[in-house]
Symmetry: D2
Subunit: 343 residues, 4 copies
């Protein structure tokens, strides 16, 4: 069994990682840290874990963590910067769910995250953990940057079009909507049920931190950085991201459905839906799947791609486990084959 | 007091119309019909009306309805086609909340609504009841076609850009999201709480009936029919539409904020928010307001317009009352000055 | 126009009070204070107020407040204790929405609220503002203690049974459920949408602060303090309280329906529903009504009373305005005749 | 592998049963019937099953079903009456999730379900499938009546008190609240999101069909039929039942916490929470657990028991699988060890 450490497991990505690892056939949580809750049992904070674990939170002790095979960071920005180097130097592999190592350009990172980059010397070895484009690099990686939730949904939706060079990349549009869990388990007025339920709005239109990450990925795929308008919105629900993507086609003859089906035929977690489909977020809730449908409305020159994920699974903890599976030679789907609870 | 008839008041636009008319200072519901519920008190079906009315539903008798000053149709498609002519010939004015008279081209209507147009001879006198572009024609109108909910939110958002000729009209995008009440008070599995809550999806991507209506309005404003990709989505909540609109700017020098503020300065129900705003659907819930914000993200060449309405008020019954006020010489805001209940 | 001051208007009872007073025909908000938000416009914090007021929050200056005819406290416990005395001495009447003056026994208050009572000398003049039992004392009151939300729903439900002496008062049960807005507009993890939606639980079973308040009221009505088991629960929604009340009948011959109808015949805000009804919280949302139904299931010896209110209206701000109307000789229903928005 | 048939798998208990069986280590769905959807793939109706099964619905053919080891009925009342006999006579075991065989008294069943009992001759062999009281009888049973959702939550909560003879059984109160999925996947106006969300109400106060079932179980346990007031309520959420139970203690000296812990110490699916707990429905969502807390508020003479289950799992399909496990000698928890997805 792979011994996994989790730093910062009191948030939503943390408890989701716990859920996945506690049911994983080849790994188990061994050290789970929280500065503020050391000594408390996990299942006292998260009653869904009662009967599944006797672990308690511990102080984030690098020595203890280094005894793990892999350490996950489910922490605010900057924490992995501060701790990853020591763990890596002791031979422990690191899977970071925060944004600390997602952007290759440290200066760009600093600009968007408003603080100096704490570990630019590690950027060279960080692998962006989107298996659908980086699968070959992940097994040998020591340091994985798990993609953000919006970047996962948006990138997977655009990749086939961009790889095939079918669209005008100057004016891509990504209209994305996320459940409230994307904002984390922090006390903030805007995420109260009274504020966020029976309500809908865009936010961060001027510029969201996931924009440079998406541009980096799409640029890698397209060969040059595209022009992208990215508008996130807050959905009155807990889990799920839907991204509706718009691109003007330069080539109207390609069978988009076939293109998508072929691109993702071998991907265990990308499900291209039948023609005419409208993927629902609930169909992937609690699972590591991304469901995608591609449309060309009214036979016009605009492609519409609909992409849904669970922001806490394929958009965070599930993708982290998928990376762990690849890093440790386990079946890629190990521990990730649950069926969405519906309704 | 204006005596108002309502045909088909058992749906959501019907009960909303009742709420507005029962509190209106210059009008009152006089005849309220329902074929299936004749004899039943309104407040037995809608307990929120207890203490506010003693009316009961009656059979839809044209003679009785013709005694009203104005008759509202809150009915499925085709009913107003069948009944409006007789009422008009008897001198009763008609405000139709269905789509029966929204499209000027009867053949186009038939194609989208899948049935022959039942009253093409009345199309000439029908006025599209969007006061923000047709205010002058409404006072003398005998027959008003109340705009659809999506068309109201989308058109009000695009109008300033199109009137000013600032954007490439070949590739407009309208990504719209609606609460479930837009689907009406019909027993259908897809709108059950178990299906529609904690879930999000697009629908009707191939072609939604509101598309030709939007194209007609935007075409009137722009001077030619634009290219528009319109994708509606279903929100896990009751009321509210948010439309996020995308257009590529041909002219980057215009102050968009000033443009929108000036265009709507005299409009009592269009509120242009301060720069950088993200209008929330709840801020207009139960009210006749449309709140709009305009952005140019990252200083790029794409304008993003965010437009919110309550689909049952400005998107249906409130706009119907606004038209009634204009038709009968009442203050345009009469009975429409309520404040949104928040939270 | 009555000039009203509001201390602490940044919470949910505050914004609800603003909504009601801004639409009130005989009163208006004149001074609205907030220590933390002085200088900010009300409609910047609460966009539903845009177009309805130009007021800004000010520092809570007793001098300014004393120029008002009446000052509402929508504050945490203890604030009204500290400020009410000075206002009263200057002739300004006080309507306190907090619990500061609800309990006549200062020692009992201290025990439940965990702090010394800050103004025991004012308790003599405080009138418990439940018009349905205290209507005669309210017009001359200088200091009103607005009842809590649960106490309003529970007391109105039990009063007819207790006044008539029909039930065993040793074992009353009140199973009450409240929307999340009852917890206020405070940043706290437990009230996040992610924690409170799609979830249900009891809380405070060991003892909730509203228990002594309910016991005081029921004791006044029954002539002696009853035995009451009161269990509150948290509903996954914003507004509304439903209380299901259980009492064993000593007398099986009384017509409970008639009893309730007669008791509340003259009450403008208590609506006894027809036999067999199940009142819905949404039917009173945004309104000052309490809807009640009384049942005797299976013809047995247990009475079941179902009572619903909007916790922010009849359970707080609406009842406060009802008291104001009575204190200043206005029609009791002035500004409180809105119809619930449904759906 | 146990070959399972499912009759009527298009409802919510049906799809939940599919989810559980598709992931079950010792059983698999072999025949899945639906009269109205024969020929359609399961995953076309339920997209969460995409990638997990290639099965399609078939006509309910008794011959095909009889080839299964066990057949589950997830059907409206009366269907199992009509078909169970033939299957049993062919040696196929039957697990009925409907109410057809829950009540031992056929006349009583007819009275509550408003139709003649269709198979009274089978009642003798039907075993009420609540393992916590009937575990010994289940392995040899040929016909299992899976308990209703409310009866499961209420009975498990009351059993320890009644078995120990600690309470006055004349005036038990069960105030129960259920998510909307309890009403099934039927098109009905009352269960639309627009009707059931942001709303709460009691229903069926005069008499709910689960009442005689609860009385039968509690009577078995207590030795005589108790007096019970049972009031169900509709929660604005999808899954979960919470039952708050009230009973007057005859004996004040018993340690209720110890009583409950001992009673359920060996039960794999009943989790007695620590003293002072308030179990949340979400902590059992998607799982077969019942979580229970017992309180004696204010040290008084009334016991309050809080019991939560997922109505579709421990209240239906999960309990059905638990019975199957016991019937076929599998580990009782096989396929039922998932962790609730939280948040």
């Amino acid at each position: 069994m792979i011994r996994a450490g989790i730093v910062g497991a009191t948030g939503y990505t943390g408890v989701e990682l716990l859920r996945l690892l506690l049911a994983h056939p080849g790994a188990e949580p061994a050290v789970v840290t929280s500065r503020g809750n050391a000594g408390e049992r996990l299942d006292a904070m998260f009653p869904n874990l009662r009967g599944h674990t006797d672990l308690a939170f511990t102080e984030p002790d690098p020595g203890l963590l280094a005894e793990c095979d892999v350490v996950f960071f489910a922490t605010p920005h900057g924490v992995a910067h501060a701790m990853a180097g020591e763990l890596l130097s002791r031979g422990t592999r690191v899977i970071d769910l925060s944004a600390d190592f997602r952007i290759r350009d440290a200066a760009l990172w600093s600009r968007w995250y408003g603080q100096p980059h704490g570990a630019p010397e590690l950027l060279d070895q960080a692998v962006y953990g989107l298996p659908e484009i980086n699968r070959k690099r992940i097994p040998d990686a020591r340091l994985i940057a798990v993609p953000g939730c919006y970047p996962t949904a948006v990138s997977l939706g655009f990749i086939p079009l961009l790889e095939a060079g079918l669209v005008d990349t100057a004016h891509l549009v990504a209209d994305a909507k996320s459940g409230v869990s994307g904002a984390g388990r922090k006390a903030q007025v805007g995420m109260l049920l009274c504020e966020a339920s029976e309500n809908f709005k865009a936010y961060g239109v001027a510029g969201h931190r996931h924009l440079p990450e998406i541009l980096q990925t799409l640029g890698d795929v397209a060969g040059q950085t595209p022009g992208l308008t990215f508008v996130p919105h807050l959905l009155p629900m807990i889990r799920g991201i839907e991204a509706s993507l718009y691109a003007v086609l330069k080539d109207m003859d390609t069978d988009l459905q076939a293109l998508y089906e072929q691109r993702y035929a071998a991907e265990p977690f990308v499900d291209v839906m039948p023609p005419g489909s409208h993927p629902e977020t609930r169909s992937v809730r609690g699972t590591n799947r991304c469901r995608i449908a591609v449309h060309r409305p009214q036979g016009g020159d605009t492609a519409v791609v609909l992409s849904v994920i669970d922001n806490l699974v394929k958009g965070a903890s599930g993708q982290a486990v998928q990376n762990m599976n690849l890093m440790f030679g386990l079946p890629e789907t190990a521990g990730l084959d649950g069926i969405a609870v519906l309704p």
